[in-house]
Structures are given as structure tokens and as C-alpha cells.
């Protein structure tokens, strides 16, 4: 991504949302902007409508659990198909209360992506029309992709894992 394109995007956000940007970086070939969690939907809506950016395609949306920081990171990847620019927006939510407004008002595609994120991480999307589990069974009580749920039974004694990985 060209430097001027990056600056233009960052300026577009700065112009309306002063002080919302916490950090910007290039991760490989992807411009990543970390924002404060409160105004994420407003920022995405602004980028959607602003003539300089017009990010009108939601590539993907998902969460990451960081157990050391007690945070859940939400990642939104947006794409402008005309100029072929992509950006990634990140916010961090506290693990005790991972709540974020829904994006379904802007992108119909966000519906199932948010349900999947709720299903696996327990992120609550305020205003979502149908926030139910989607891939797991409905009576599941845990959020399985969080790091506190190990894939295998960690107290197994018949298997010595000392030599093999974590």
C-alpha cells in the first residue's frame, strides 16, 4: 500500500474522530489501525460513506483471545473494491464484559460472522437481530475458542507431553 493512501485513510479518520486512533502499523502488507473501542461502528460507517475511502466490502470479522492481557481483540477487515485498498481495524475489549455494537446495520454479511464470534468467544453484539449460537450446539455453556479451554484434557496422565510442543 502506498504511503499517501495510508495517510489519506488515517486523515479521514482523524478529521472526524480526533484521538480515537491508538496505533497505526503496517503488518506485512496490511494497514492495521487500532482504535478505542467506543466508536468503532461510527468509524466504520464514516469510512463506508466518505468519498475518499469508501470501504464498502466487509472481508471478514473475528475475535482473538489474549489471556495474558485479559482482553478479546476484535478485528474488522474492510476492502474497497474500486481502489483495491484494504484496511484492518482492531479494538480490544475487556474479557469481563466484551460488548460491542453490531455491524449488521451496515453490512448484512456481518450477521453470521458476529454470531460465529459470539458462539466461540462470547462477544456480545448490542442490537444484533438474532444473536444465537451458530456452529455449536445451542445448549453449550462455554465459549470454546477462548484460551482457557484446552483442546485436550490437560490432566491426562497416560500421555507425556514434555517433549512435544506446548
Amino acid at each position: 500500500m502506498e504511503l499517501e493512501d495510508q495517510e489519506k485513510i488515517i486523515e479521514t479518520i482523524q478529521a472526524k474522530f480526533e484521538g480515537e486512533i491508538l496505533r497505526t502499523e503496517m503488518l506485512y502488507d496490511f494497514l492495521t489501525i487500532t482504535l478505542k473501542q467506543e466508536k468503532i461502528i461510527e468509524v466504520i460507517t464514516h469510512l463506508y460513506h466518505h468519498p475518499d475511502t469508501k470501504f464498502q466490502y466487509l472481508t471478514t470479522l473475528f475475535a482473538v483471545h489474549y489471556p495474558d492481557q485479559n482482553q478479546i481483540g476484535m478485528v474488522y477487515q474492510l476492502h474497497n473494491l474500486v481502489t483495491n485498498l484494504r484496511i484492518r481495524l482492531k479494538i480490544y475489549l475487556p474479557i469481563e464484559n466484551p460488548t460491542v455494537p453490531t455491524l449488521t446495520g451496515l453490512f448484512a454479511a456481518a450477521n453470521w460472522m458476529e454470531r460465529e464470534t459470539y458462539d466461540f468467544f462470547g462477544v456480545l453484539f448490542e442490537g444484533h437481530p438474532n444473536l444465537k449460537r451458530i456452529l455449536n450446539v445451542e445448549d453449550m455453556i462455554i465459549f470454546p475458542l477462548r484460551k482457557e479451554y484446552p483442546l485436550e484434557d490437560q490432566v491426562r496422565e497416560d500421555k507425556n507431553d514434555l517433549m512435544f510442543g506446548r
Partner: protein, 403 residues
Amino acid sequence: MEVKQPATDQFYQPREKQYTYLNLGPTHPATHGIFQNVLKMDGEIIVEATPTIGYIHRAFEKLAERRPFYQITPITDRMNYCSAPINNFGWHMTVEKLLGVEIPKRVQYLRVIIMELARITDHLVCNAVIGVDTGALTGFVYMFQQRELVYEIYEEICGARLTSNIGRIGGFEREWSPKTWEKIHRFLKEFPLVLKEFEDLLNRNRIFMDRTIGCGGITAERALNYSFSGVNLRAAGVDYDVRVAKPYSSYEDFEFVIPVGKNGDVYDRFMVRQEEMWQSLSIIRQAIEKMPEGPFHAKVPDFYLPPKEEVYNNMEALIYHFKIVMGETDIPKGEVYHCVEGGNGELGFYLISDGGRTPFRLHMRRPCFIYYQAYPEMIKGSMLSDAILTMSSMNVIAGELDA
């Protein structure tokens, strides 16, 4: 005021509009996979559809968090199993991007050949099945014979057929044998004839056209809003193809056309796939023609298992072998997103590495999962038989949908 009914009409009740609820699926022979839809029907017209998914959910994203990189390749096979090699290479390229490995031109071209063969098989299955759902079983049988030829090519390269686990991080595990090339040339000679025959059978077939034109359509605006990708988006008239938008594996070296449709209905999707198969054939021919000389794998001894003769006779090779199998290699920390044009859309891998043996988090952007949510909207107001046709023309693969 209450009107007293005459005694003769005491059993009469004003009729309310009644709907039938029809449970289509989960295992219905017409749905080609495990999809459940509860349909609210007014006669034969669908009023509302409620899809339930997740019947074959296998927690790939969680599984990947405990597997070393090279063991994740077989997981990707089981997503879109109609074009497994594209998933494999997509994952390999993601890891290579994270490691910053430079891949030899020859490997890239070999990959292009396999990926285009996989695209052909994917489109071929889907189009043949559209034929079946409209009542034309003949084309299906002819096309499946050709798929067999492609599977024989895979078999020659990697030993597997459906869930291929083809290639390695960095390239291929061995040089392609002369037999492989022979089989590829045979396919290139035989397939165009069959494809032409298939086109003659359906493309301008009055019954087929009447059945498919205007069925299961979606506008470009809605398709974009639903984050469609791949053929479904192109059929609606948006020329977005990852191979052109963000070329990977040297796709910029080849001349090809991105076919687009107009109405986004079943017929347009069918025709776009049909044309893409011709384009894929042309890409394969170009790749064979331009095939550069060089090694069949990149020089990444930390990730690429050395050949067995080396392991037994060479100390470095033995060390690398041990390190790879035991997961002792250093992996850079980082976050990387890589996407490839899969059989049915933009297939993306978002890999977060914390320097450990396994990914910290792997998110897969599965195109099916994203566009299948538009299905209720697409079949609303259409007939039950159109709903079946719409689903098969969208190329929804249960393995990818449920991950």
C-alpha cells in the same frame, strides 16, 4: 357488538391463512450435503426460510491451535473438498508469507497448474450438479469421468485424490514424474471436447434456459452487502477476482479474462463457471508453455523435510528433520492475512503467530459461510424446486460452511 351465529353455522370458523412448515434437510438427497432449512410455505411458494448450520462442525480453528504448521494442511483439505489443492496452497502461501520465503518461479507455475485444475474440478462438479437438479443427468456422468482424470493427476503428484494434502511449505516434495505430464496433456486434450459437448447440451437448451434464467437472482448491491465473492459475485456483475486484484503465485504472468454475468441468477452463475473453465484451461496451457527451469521447492531447510537419503547420510539433514518433527524451529512472530481465489470465492487465512510451534490463532475466511446467509433472501417468494436449484448453483460446500 357480538353477532350471534345461526345454529347451523356453529362449527364454522373464519379461515385464517395457513402456512405449511417444511423441513428441508438436514440429510436430503437434493441438498448435496448437510443443510437444514425450515421453510415456511404458502402452497408451493416459500415465504420464509430459516437455515440451521453446523451439523458437521469440526472446530478447525481450535484444532489448528494445537498443530504445527505442516499438520494444518490436512485440515484445510476438509474445507472445500471439491478443490482441496487450492486450500492447501492457500495455507502454504500464508505460512510462506509469514516466514518471508521466496518461492522459485517453477514452484509457482506448478502450483498454478494444480490450482487451475482444482478450479476446473470444482466448477465442473457444480455445473454438472446444476444439470442434475434441472433433470439433465447425462452431462453429469460425462463430466465426472473428466474429474477422474484430474484426480489421477493429483494421485501421481501426491498419492491422494480427494483430500489431497498436496505439496509442502516451500514447494513440492518431489519432482513431477513424466507420467504426471503425460496425464496432464491427456486431460488437456480430452477435456475441451467434453466441455464443448456439455455446453452444447445445456448452454442454449430451451428447457434449461427457461428453468434457470431469473431463478435465484441477486443484485450486485445486495451481493456486495452480503460480502459475496468468487463466481457468485461475478455473476451479479462485479469483476472482483483475487487472482487479478492481488496476484499471488505469479498469476500476473498469465493472460486471462474474468467473465462476469449480469443478473446474478442461476443461469449467469452457470455461464460464468463455464467460461472460467475455458480460461483455466488456457492458463494451464500458458503455464506449461512458459514453465521455467529450477528447483521444485524453496530453500527453507527449517520447514521443508529433507529427502530420506539425506536424513540417513547427512548430519545437517538429520538435525533439520528432527527439528521439524519435534517443532523446534524458530517461527517469527507476526500477523498475516493471505487470500486466494478458491473454487467458490475469496478464501482467506488470518494467521497470528506468537513464535510458538503452533499458530496462536488461525482464522479462516470461508467464502461459503459468508454468502450462504443470503440464501433465505434469495429464495424468498420462489418455488421449492427453485430453492434446490439455487442452493446447488451457489456451490455451497458443507465442509467449508461448517469448518
